[in-house]
């Protein structure tokens, strides 16, 4: 029994750390322009596909695959922001949300047009190595996914807290008008945020591809929504919140599948979502915002 629990714990942390990577993109964008970036899940899917193309056509060197996917997807993220979000930045919230939904529909269906709706097998980038520690089998891939996620999160933490751009990001998220008065180019900061968030999503896409060994053009919607749940769970707008939220969601989902029923996997995430929203809408790490009259 203990072995099963430990095994599931490891699975949960693996999936959870991937959720965290995607959730970071949602939370950063929301923190800065108060918009649910509905296209984020599809950007993650495109990242996975770019990784697939690089891995099958160019090289199976993991570093190259993930770096190329992250760089190209960052450009895509900035492009989406310029086309679909920037023009509606001063419109009502619902306009921005619908524009984001439009971007999501456009990206996923463009990939369907190019690739077809079928699943694609992901190449095996890593040899299958399993360690057995105290009766539990741990795959090298799981350890690797967790380590890559941790490294990327530390990278993000460094950027946000120790660079000039990071300071500007935090300033804009506090108050865009004041930040602008202080000479911060808010457009540049917003583009940078989208670039970082999208590249993290691309990394998550490549990791998911190597973990589940398959990708498909419509995988962005559900996985993205669940990552969004993770961001809300941790408190949207909070970077540590997104990390913790992702882990909690991953663990809850894996435990739910193992001990309740595998068919209710997706309902678990959204059940948690509604529960959190009703009990503590600001999430675990979020600040409650006061209504401005």
């Amino acid at each position: 029994m203990l072995e099963i629990i430990l095994k599931q714990l490891l699975n949960g942390i693996t999936v959870g750390s991937i959720y965290s990577l995607i959730a970071l993109g949602y939370t950063m964008v929301y923190g800065i322009i108060k918009l649910i970036n509905f296209a984020h899940g599809d950007i993650y899917m495109v990242g996975a596909f770019i990784g697939l193309i690089v891995a099958t056509q160019l090289t199976s060197n993991f570093i190259v695959v993930i770096v190329v996917a992250m760089a190209l997807t960052a450009i895509l993220g900035v492009l989406v922001e310029k086309v679909a979000y920037k023009p509606v930045r001063n419109s009502s919230r619902i306009s921005a949300l619908i524009s984001a939904i439009g971007a999501s529909i456009f990206i996923s269906n463009l990939v369907v047009l190019i690739n077809g709706p079928q699943r694609e097998a992901y190449p095996q980038i890593f040899p299958e190595i399993n360690f057995v520690i105290g009766g539990i089998t741990i795959s090298f891939l799981q350890i690797f996914i967790i380590l890559v996620s941790i490294a990327l999160m530390f990278g993000l933490y460094y950027i946000v807290h120790n660079t000039k751009m990071g300071v500007a990001m935090r300033a804009v998220s506090q108050n865009m008008t004041t930040a602008r008065l202080m000479g911060i180019n808010s457009d540049k900061v917003i583009s940078f945020t989208f670039a970082i968030g999208s590249s993290l999503a691309a990394a998550a896409g490549v990791l998911v591809g190597t973990y589940y060994r398959a990708v498909d053009p419509l995988m962005g919607l559900l996985f993205g929504l669940k990552a969004f749940v993770a961001a809300v769970l941790g408190g949207i707008g909070s970077i540590p919140g997104a990390m913790v939220g992702g882990l909690v969601l991953g663990l809850a989902e894996v435990m739910g599948v193992a001990f309740i029923s595998p068919s209710f996997r997706d309902a678990i995430a959204f059940g948690i979502l509604i529960f959190i929203l009703i009990v503590k809408p600001s999430g675990l790490f979020g600040k409650a915002t006061k209504e401005k009259v």
Partner: protein, 280 residues
């Protein structure tokens, strides 16, 4: 040969017209929630599925007459609308949108995994009792109902919530009562639409009522203009018929859909017929 072609063509047009009518009923329900009250809902299809499934079950398993199953579908839509409305309408804006979205997904997953409701196979053999005349009757009824509601004292209270919630509360409007009321009525019409839909196609499947269906309904509302009955009707007609006309380009349909949404929000966010700016 000519007459066969003629017959088929007419049949096809009647089918498209009926589906359009059903969409009008549901989008008017969504208009009450999102356009008139200003509460963004991304789970309208969930109430449609509740109406469709409850009316089908009552028709098939209990052998109830059509009108009873329609009333049951409407009633269950309203019941679940109220049940969800009470806890979540304290939430605002984006959070409310996400909660309704989550509710929609939960309903879909639960139906998908309940053998009694047919699971992934759906339900077959629902009596095909809906026809164009019945749909037209309910469309007229819904338009009349929504018009009267908006013009009434209650309608004024509901609109005041959209304009400024805090000011409305100060003026003594019972905000939570009216929010739940509007959510319940809106969901009831989604339930009615779902019941009509099930009894028209005589086959339903959980995939028909997913997130994309909710988005489709929202798009119809947005295209016409939120808060406008004319707009909701017009948007439903355009987005129900244009994809049929453009069926030859069906591969590009969804891509175009995405572009249209973005362009619409950039250049005319209030919709084609909308006068008001809804701030959710």
């Amino acid at each position: 040969m000519d007459s066969i072609l003629n017959y088929l063509f007419n049949d096809y047009i009647i089918q498209v017209a009926t589906i359009t009518g059903i969409n009008i009923i549901m989008v008017l329900g969504l208009n009450l929630i999102t356009g008139v009250t200003g509460q963004l809902s991304l789970g309208h299809a969930a109430f449609m599925s509740i109406g469709a499934y409850s009316s089908s079950i009552i028709s098939i398993k209990l052998g109830a007459p059509f009108i009873v199953s329609l009333l049951a579908g409407t009633g269950f839509g309203a019941l679940f609308g109220a049940l969800l409305g009470v806890p979540i309408l304290r939430l605002r804006g984006d959070y409310l949108a996400i909660a309704t979205l989550g509710f929609g997904e939960i309903v879909r997953v639960v139906i998908l995994n309940t053998p009694y409701l047919g699971g992934a196979l759906g339900i077959y053999g629902i009596p095909p009792s809906t026809n164009l005349a019945i749909t037209a009757f309910f469309v007229v009824f819904t338009i009349f109902f929504m018009y009267r509601l908006e013009k009434s004292r209650h309608g004024l209270a509901i609109r005041s919530i959209r304009e400024d919630e805090i000011a409305a509360e100060m003026m003594g409007v019972n905000i939570s009562k009216y929010k739940v009321l509007s959510f319940t009525i809106g969901s009831a019409f989604a339930g009615l639409g779902g019941a009509l839909y099930a009894h028209f196609l005589s086959y339903i499947n959980p995939i028909d009522f997913g997130f994309m269906k909710s988005i489709e309904q929202l798009c119809m509302l947005v295209l016409g203009g939120m808060g406008s009955i004319t707009g909701a009707v017009f948007g439903s007609i355009v987005l129900s018929t244009v994809p049929e006309i453009l069926r030859f380009a069906s591969e590009y349909r969804m891509v175009t859909y995405g572009i249209v949404l973005i362009l619409m929000m950039v250049f005319r966010p209030q919709g084609l017929f909308g006068k008001i700016k809804v701030n959710v």
